[in-house]
Structure formats: C-alpha cells, structure tokens
C-alpha cells in the first residue's frame, strides 16, 4: 500500500530523498502551533524531512475464507447471514450485509456465484474502508508517540515488538516505553521484543512504578535522544474497570504535556466476540483510540467484530497480526481482507 512516512532528517547523511515542497510547508505550519518553547525557539523555516520506506508486507496468509462449506448462490443468501454471524459480525451487522447484497444482486440481476462473491466483497470492503487507515507517522512531529492499549491477553506486547521491528527496518529510530508495570515480568517480555527489534527501551525505575510516570520519562527520553517513534506499552485492562481506565487517561495526559500523541492503537484479538464493540467504545472514550490492531488472525477466528467497530464507531483497523513471528504483521487493507474472507483470489 502506498502510505507515505516521513521522519526528521538526521545530521549524519543517510540516503536522502528529495523532500516535496508541500510537505515542508505543512511542517512549518505545525511547528508554529507547537507549544513546546524549545521547538518553537529553534527556528527552522524548512525542517527537512526524510522519507521512510517500510518493507512490503501482506496479511493475506492469515485471513481465512468464510465459505469452506457451502456453495454461495442466490438460494443460499440466508445461509450467508449464518456464516457472517459465525464470523463474529454480530446479528445486526450480518442482517444488514445480507440485505445489501440482496438488494445489489437484484438491481444488477447478478446470478452466478462469482457475481455474488464480488458484490459481497464490495459491500464488506466499502464498509471497512476508512480514509484514516494510514498510521500517522508523516507530519514530522517527532517523536511520533504511539500508545498501545487493550484488554488483557490480546497481544499488545507482541504487537509492539512487531511494529518496532518494522519501523526500525524502515529506518525509524524507535524507543519503547515499558509502562506495563502491573503484570508479572511484562517489562522483561517487552525488553526481549525490543532487543529483537533493535529498539531502545525505557524501563520503570522501580517495580510497580506508576505507569504514567514511566510514560512521562519515556517521552522525555524519546525527545532528548531524538527518537523518531516512541511506542508505549500499557498493562492490559478490562474496559469496565473505571480505575484502570482512569489510569490510561492519566498516561495520555502526561504524555501530551511533552509531545503530541500520533496514534492510540487499540489491540483487539480476532477471536473476540461481541464484547469487542464494548471494548472499542470504552477505550475510544477514555484513550481517544485512533486505530485498531487486529491480532491473531492466523487462527480460525475471522475477526468480524471489527466490522461493527468501524460501522458504529468509525474507528479504522490499521494493522493486523497474523502469527507469532516478528514479521507476521501488516497494514490492514479492506479490499484484501474482504477478498480473503470471501475466498476470492486476486
């Protein structure tokens, strides 16, 4: 996918690509609104940005087709509803999708299995498409702070490892803030990933340190070291625990004292059922989620809940995880996802 990523140019010469004039102007505008006096003081009329090329990845291998059992034809459209329900799309969304497919099939007098598949792909892709699907790592406001949140056991730390590796491969300098100070050995786990990815790590100074203060220190360190991206790991929390959700709000506020938060990524396990929507709602409200990471798509789960999340909350899926390997990770492509689900090649 042709997303554009930019980081600030470093002093040591790297393979420099010409910076487009438009981008530079945009950058200047952002800088002037920056509240940090330091940044405002170092007057850089045209701070140069340098393009980052992330290695090409595809999530295709992880997405499993919906239709292994049935033949997909006009008579089977009701059965389609069952299949969507079984893929965690939810009762309402499934009914709505089937209704759309029926309507379009009627209009276009589609009959063959291929026609119907194509219609379904279009309906799914169209509703999963979001204009903000790119990671916001392009405005030059480094360090780009990425806050990673979610309930327990969805794969936040693994996601951070994978994302770090990818960004490092592309040439970003990545720092990770280990703000999951709650779960036993969580810091060590993220440290292992940081090492594998080649990212720097800011650990809590003491065991059980307030996660917000770790986040603060990490932000400070990222700014001081001139890191391009700071990824903050947070402890898993169930969305109905107000105290823990408030803690998340605090982490966000504390980071924002020093830097703009570029992304708040909510990690959702593909096996999650209808509770996923409740998760997204709660985290969106407290943490201002900007995107969803759909993990564990390499299992038998289809991850249909993201459809409702996109429909009801307008939060785009930005990344998908498809395995335990550090490279099993990709951008989310609505077309690819829809095609994969429907089992249509190409």
């Amino acid at each position: 996918m042709a997303f554009q990523f930019w980081k600030r140019k470093r002093e040591e010469p790297v393979a420099v690509e010409q910076v487009i004039a438009e981008n530079t102007t945009e950058q200047t505008a952002v800088i002037t609104t920056e509240s940090t006096s330091e940044v405002a003081a170092e007057i850089q009329p045209k701070p140069e940005l340098e393009k980052v090329e992330l290695p090409k990845r595809s999530a295709r291998k992880g997405i499993r087709a919906l239709f292994s059992k049935i033949k997909f034809d006009l008579e089977n459209l009701d059965e389609l509803e069952d299949i969507l329900i079984q893929s965690d799309f939810g009762v309402d969304a499934s009914a709505a999708i089937v209704a759309s497919v029926k309507e379009i099939a009627k209009k276009t007098s589609a009959k063959t299995e291929n026609d119907l598949k194509k219609i379904l792909i279009d309906v799914l892709a169209e509703n999963l498409e979001n204009k903000d699907k790119a990671l916001n790592l392009s405005d030059g406001n480094t360090p780009y702070v990425v806050l990673v949140v979610g309930v327990n056991g969805v794969g936040k730390t693994t996601t951070i490892g994978k994302l770090s590796k990818w960004l490092v491969q592309g040439g970003f300098q990545v720092m990770i803030g280990a703000a999951d100070t709650f779960r036993a050995a969580a810091v060590d786990q993220v440290a292992t990933w940081a090492e594998r990815a080649g990212a720097k790590l800011i650990r809590p100074k003491t065991e059980g340190q307030d996660p917000a203060s770790v986040a603060f220190e990490a932000t400070e360190a990222a700014i001081n070291s001139g890191s391009d991206v700071l990824i903050i790991d947070t402890a898993g929390r169930l969305q109905n625990k107000a105290d823990l959700m408030n803690e998340l709000d605090k982490i966000r506020r504390v980071v924002e004292k020093q830097a703009k938060i570029a992304e708040v990524l909510l990690v959702i396990d593909a096996t999650t059922g209808q509770n996923g929507l409740a998760q997204a709602k709660a985290f969106a409200e407290v943490a201002k989620v900007t995107g969803v990471v759909l993990t564990k798509l390499d299992g038998t789960a289809k991850g249909g809940i993201v459809y409702s999340i996109q429909q009801e909350l307008g939060i785009p899926v930005k990344l998908v995880g498809v395995g335990e390997g550090i490279d099993d990770f990709s951008f989310f492509d609505a077309q690819e996802f829809a095609r994969g689900l429907v089992g249509q090649e190409g």
């Binding site: 079984q86 730390t157 036993a184 969580a186 060590d188 107000a242 929507l277 998760q279 299992g299």
Partner: protein, 502 residues
C-alpha cells in the same frame, strides 16, 4: 448498547394477552428473542440452534403453568436447559490416588494460562496441598520469568530448568518435572504450557507429547470469556488434539456475557470447573452454572420473579414480616451486622454482580470501592452501642468524636447518618406497601434486600436486620408489579449500595 433480554421480552409480550396456555406462536416469538440474546452473548450459532430446538420441543410438551405467563414459562425452560448444559457434568477437580496429581493447562495465546496457573496453585495451597508450578511455556518471551514472579508472589515453588524464549524442550521439562515432584514430595504439579492455535498441528502435537510425558489427571482447557463464535472450533480442536478433561473460564470480571461457556460445554461435554474473575491471585472460584446462565441471558430479575411466583410466595406473610420491620427500628447495629456478614462471604463486588437485576448496575458495581465498607464500618464501630441503636443521639460533639475515632471527617459521618436515615425511612415506606421515592438512594431494596436476605438465608444465621431485607424487596416488587412496572426497576438505577457509596 442493546436492551437486555428482559426488556425485549417484555416488549415482545406487551401486546400479547396472557392466555394461560402456550401457543407455538408465543413460543416462537420468545425463542426469537432468546436466539438473539444468546448470539449477542457470543454463544456459537450451532449451539444456539440446537438449544432453541430443544427448548421449543420441551415448551410445546410442557405442562402449562398457571402462575406464569407464556414468556415467563419459556424463559424458565430456557434457564433450566442452560443450567443443565452448563452444569450437567459438574464435578470437582480430580486428584490422583498416589501423589502427585498432575494438572496440565492448555489454551490459545492470551487466554490467561500463566495467571491462572498461579491462582490455581494458590487455591490448592490454601487447601493444604503442596503444589509446584512447571514452566513449560518456552515460547512466549519471558513466560518462564512471569511464572517465576507469580510463584514468588504466592509462595509456590516453580520448576523452571529452561530459560524459555525459544530455548529448551517443553516436553522434557514436563517429563523432568514429574520426577522432581516425586522426589521432593509435591502433591500437585501444575504444568503451564505455551499458548497455541487449534490449527497449528506442530504445536498441538507438542501439547499431546507433553500430555503423554506427564500423564495428567486433569487437562484444563483455559478459555477467555470474551471469545466469540470461534470458541466451538477452538474447543473442538483442543479436545481432539490434547484431550481435555475440564474447562476454566477466565476474565469473567469483564462485562462480556460469556456465551463461550455454553458453546464449550455443549460442544465438548466437558465440565467447567473454575471461573477466574479478577487480577488478584485470589480472584478464582469454582464455577456456578446457575450464575453463568443468568449472566448469559442477562435477565436475572425476570428469573427471580419467576422463582418467586413459582414458590407461591405467601403475600400476607411477607406483609407481616414487613410490618415488623416497619415497627422495629432498623438500627445502625443491624446495619453493621449485615455488613459483617457480607464481608464474611467474600468479595462484595463479585457477589453483587451475581445478583439478579444487576445487569445495568454491573458497571457501577465494578467501580464500587470496597474500602468504603471498611470506612463505614470504622465509623459505626466508633459509636457507642447506644448511638448505634438510636442514631438520633448523634449531636455535633458526638459526631466529631466519632470522626476522630474512625479517622474520618465529620462530613463522612454526617453523610453516613443521612444515608442511613433515608434508607430506614424508605424501608418503612416499602414495608407499608408504597413505592419508595428515593432521590439519591436507589439500589436500596435490591441491595439490602435480595442480596443479604437471599444469600444469608443459606447461612442460617440471620439477624433481624438481614432477614428483613427479603420481604422488603418482595413487597417492593409486588408494589412495582401492581403499578405495571417491571420488577427490579425500583431496585436499579444510578447510585450505589445502601449507605455505602458516595
């Protein structure tokens, strides 16, 4: 988000006259709503289909109950069938004849195996067993480390000869752990394994090899209660691949309805042994099928109503008891007694969450600070017995003394007394058959009533205060019904428990 099942059922039957007889149409209308509720609770579709078919057959053949309207009758059948599936094979953990008992944990990534291993070990230790944890998850970064930290926290040794992070062979670790346990006379061996996907043949074979190596007495399948439709596939895969003997449901402290429990129980036929419901190492308990059934349906209040109607509750008796309550002054002493009973019964939060009608209150309950009870207790304990019996005695200087004695402020004391007075007043109103007006004090009849009365009953040591709750609640429901309200409405809403919340 969605109205709960009870709301929707009430909606469905609003226009339906109570016929005293179940017609197929009544049953189907009810079942449509139930199907939807089950699907929204993430019960797998195939399980829902089989389930509703079974319920329909039974409903058609069932004798007509005079006490219940058609909807209620179908719901009752549904509940019974749910409990049957969830608890049909209910049993306790089985121990080996000759120690050590070997328990192997298996499940998907992130289902909570390592945390559960710790909780299970602690639970066994508290029962006088000598458990040892085995770090056979050598895959996930620092899983070994995590288990060691957990072991340290609960004071249970951990067998971890390999560092993990991809180094070492889990099968041989598991094998060696048994030898080690026999040598060192541990009574229970808990083997934590790596998370794996049901379709990952290599890892499933490895799990089978671990199982062969340790010959477990129990293979517990650990599953996240938030899992959706895929629960059936996963459960089947693990049952086929490793051969599970029981199920543990984790993260039940979330607000997922946990339909997966039903899916897994009905697909594998294996009993759900435990439920894990919090981050603390004690947040772990045996599985209660009836509670889970209510949770999946999210309609505890309707079930309570049915239960009560069925018991042919003697209204006059209730009134008599309520009258007694109204005459006898409900004192702070009774209040304290109630609270102490509550404390004995364990975590108030998890108990309240099980309560009928707590559906909407669940979020508030989740945020209810249990320390509030301790504070309230401190205040009451700082009063003289006379003050506890006659709160009217509490003048300014007494209040300030109590505040000092309990380490609270006078404002805290005032607010407790105010809330207590409101509560006592309301109990009187309820007892007289009125519908209580309770600004700022909702939740009271349900809390002080159904909760204490219902639970304390079995303990058989009710004091006047606690027993009095039951009739109060019943009277409130009677009254609510008379006004055409849905039961439970009066007892839910914003606010928190009786005199406890802020």
């Amino acid at each position: 988000m969605f109205g709960n099942l009870s709301d929707r059922l009430i909606e469905t039957f609003k226009n339906l006259r109570s016929k005293g007889k179940l017609s197929p149409a009544d049953i189907d209308a009810t079942l449509r709503e139930i199907r939807r509720a089950l699907l929204e609770a993430d019960v797998a579709l195939e399980v829902v289909k089989n389930f509703t078919t079974a319920v329909r057959e039974r409903a058609l053949g069932d004798e007509v109950s005079k006490a219940l309207n058609p909807a209620q009758q179908v719901v009752q059948i549904v509940n019974e069938e749910l409990v049957k599936i969830l608890g049909g094979e209910q049993r306790k953990l089985s121990f080996a004849k000759t120690a050590p008992t070997v328990i192997m944990l298996a499940g998907l990534q992130g289902s909570g195996k390592t945390t559960l291993a710790g909780k299970l070990a602690k639970w066994l230790k508290d029962q006088g067993q000598t458990p040892i944890l085995v770090a056979a998850d050598l895959q996930r970064p620092n899983a070994v480390n995590q288990l060691q930290v957990v072991g340290e926290r609960i004071g249970v040794p951990v067998f971890a000869p390999e560092p993990g992070n991809g180094v070492g062979n889990p099968v041989s670790v598991a094998k060696d752990s048994i030898k080690h346990a026999k040598q060192k006379m541990f009574s229970v061996v808990i083997v934590d394994t790596a998370g794996r996907l049901g379709i990952d043949e290599e890892l499933m074979t490895q799990a089978k090899d671990i199982s062969k190596a340790v010959d477990p007495d129990e293979v517990l399948f650990v599953i996240d209660s938030m899992i959706g439709q895929d629960a059936v596939n996963v459960a089947k895969a693990f049952d086929d691949g490793v051969g599970i003997t029981g199920v543990v449901l984790t993260k039940l402290d979330g607000d997922a309805r946990g339909g997966a429990a039903l899916s897994v129980a009905s697909v594998t036929g294996k009993p759900i042994l435990f439920a894990s419901n919090g981050e603390g190492m004690d947040a772990f308990e045996p599985f209660y099928p009836d509670r889970m059934a209510s949770r999946i349906l999210d309609m505890g209040d309707v079930l309570t109503l049915i239960e009560q109607t069925q018991k042919n509750f003697d209204e006059s008796e209730a009134r008599a008891m309520a009258e007694k309550l109204a005459k006898d002054t409900f004192t702070l002493e009774d209040f304290l007694d109630q609270m102490q009973q509550l404390k004995k019964m364990g975590s108030l939060k998890s108990m309240l969450a099980m309560m009928p009608g707590a559906g909407q209150m669940r979020n508030q309950l989740e945020n209810f600070d249990e320390r509030e009870i301790v504070r309230t207790e401190a205040i009451i304990r700082s009063m003289t017995p006379a003050e506890r019996r006659q709160p009217k005695l509490l003048n300014g200087s007494r209040r300030s003394r109590i505040a000092k004695g309990s380490g609270m402020t006078v404002t805290d004391v005032n607010s407790l007394v105010n809330r207590f007075e409101q509560a006592a007043k309301m109990m009187k109103t309820v007892a007289k058959g009125g519908v209580p007006q309770m600004p700022g004090m909702p939740g009271m009849p349900g809390m002080g009533g159904g909760f204490v009365g219902g639970k304390a009953k079995s303990k058989g040591k009710d004091k006047k205060g606690s027993k009095s709750g039951n009739p109060a609640k019943r009277a409130a429901e009677e009254a609510a019904r008379a006004l055409g309200q849905k039961p439970g409405e009066a007892s839910s809403g914003s606010g928190s428990a009786f005199g406890l919340g802020k």
